[in-house]
Amino acid sequence: MKNDYDIIVVGAGPAGSMAARFAAEKGVSVMMLEKDRDVGYPVRCGEAISKSGVEEFISTDEKWIAAHISKFSLNSPDGTEAVIEFDDAGYVLERRIFDYALAKTAAEAGADILSRAYVNGLLFEDDKVCGVKYEFRGEQKELRAKVVIGADGVESRIGRWAGLRTFTDFRDMECCTQITASNINADANTLYFYFGENYAPGGYFWIFPKGNNTANIGLGVSGMVGKKRSALSYLNNFMSNNYPEAPILTSIAGGVPSTITLGKISSPGIMLAGDAARQVNPLSGGGIASGMIGGSIAGRIAGEAVKMNKPDHILAYDKEWHNRLGKRHEIFERLKNGIYNFDDNKFNKIAHSFNKVPKNKRTLGRLFTTALVNQPSLLIDIAKVFVI
């Protein structure tokens, strides 16, 4: 193994793998370090993604698709179901296979990958990041690089070590827990969402099918809610009321930094991507597609900077990210804040009104228009991000 690389990527999730791949495609040397034993495991994700979000980066392969999604079922507190149908909306993934496939594309582009490598510090030279310190099989090691890309997830500390203020306000953290359960009687092509005080106040509860009557069942609530009652207690409550006998195949916890992108995602020698940069859609909490986009931009720009021998070029990343997706996330953040404080009664009324809309006009844009009809400024935002 070499002692120095052009680019080090920390974290081998979707953002890290795309950063490594797009950097390597520029013809520079890349090492991607993963702290866990396995790329792609443990999974900390609801695993739903839009088709377009995947196709930009990897051609569809049934081996990492658990379910094809063509319908959303949105359920209000009084049990009213609003259904939105799509031609071919997206997938529920098998992330442990998907992440592995993404990492392989990075390897095929020429990136080196090392698992069980826990990064625990940065190296500096003239106040500029110039590598990482890491622990590997009980030994403390160092690896130098021209650029370090931190794609180390919600638990990222790399940005902080480089002087970026990266922690997430606990009110913006969606604190999630999920089980994968068997013997769940749900449509195999529908994503189910449940809203209201009993399910997930200020967030949502989900059932995402994974084929053969298995499903990811979970929820996210803000840390503000968690102060009074944990995500786990909502999940336990739901399961004992609805599926008390369901076999549980996995149970996990996780955090989603559900707010706009960090103010600064690059600094001399360092860039952040994925959850580490808060490249998450704050409304849906979805971060796979946006993390891949962020990672790919970071990787390409880092590669260009090395190739051109222009270290400051990496600072162009912030602007490019904001133009591609960051500004869109600001719109989603405003929509999230618009519906955040809705009570059960309001959710019920929205569902009732929406079900009066002709079936072929029931779209996500129409749903948000129905929900936010009294907030005209947000209607413009809806028009910007949804096809109505």
């Binding site: 900390r44 919600v154 638990e155 990222s156 902080r160 922690f167 604190c175 207690s233």
Partner: protein, 62 residues
């Protein structure tokens, strides 16, 4: 003092993400609070999805 119950922890990193003091260290399946940095602000307690972190005031768990 903030206490993490390691037997119950899922090592998900939610607490690390909200810690304003960079006072939590998370490895693959090992988590530690760096006591010199911790200010007992309790944000990690509130954010833990699965009730694994506690604030222990004078030995009384709350």
């Amino acid at each position: 003092m903030i206490e993490i119950l390691p037997d119950k922890c899922d090592f998900c990193g939610c607490c690390v993400g909200v810690c304003p003091e960079d006072a939590i260290e998370l490895k693959e399946a090992e988590i530690n609070i760096i006591d010199e940095r911790c200010t007992n602000c309790s944000k990690c307690v509130w954010s833990c999805p699965i009730e694994v972190i506690r604030f222990n005031r004078d030995g009384i768990l709350s």
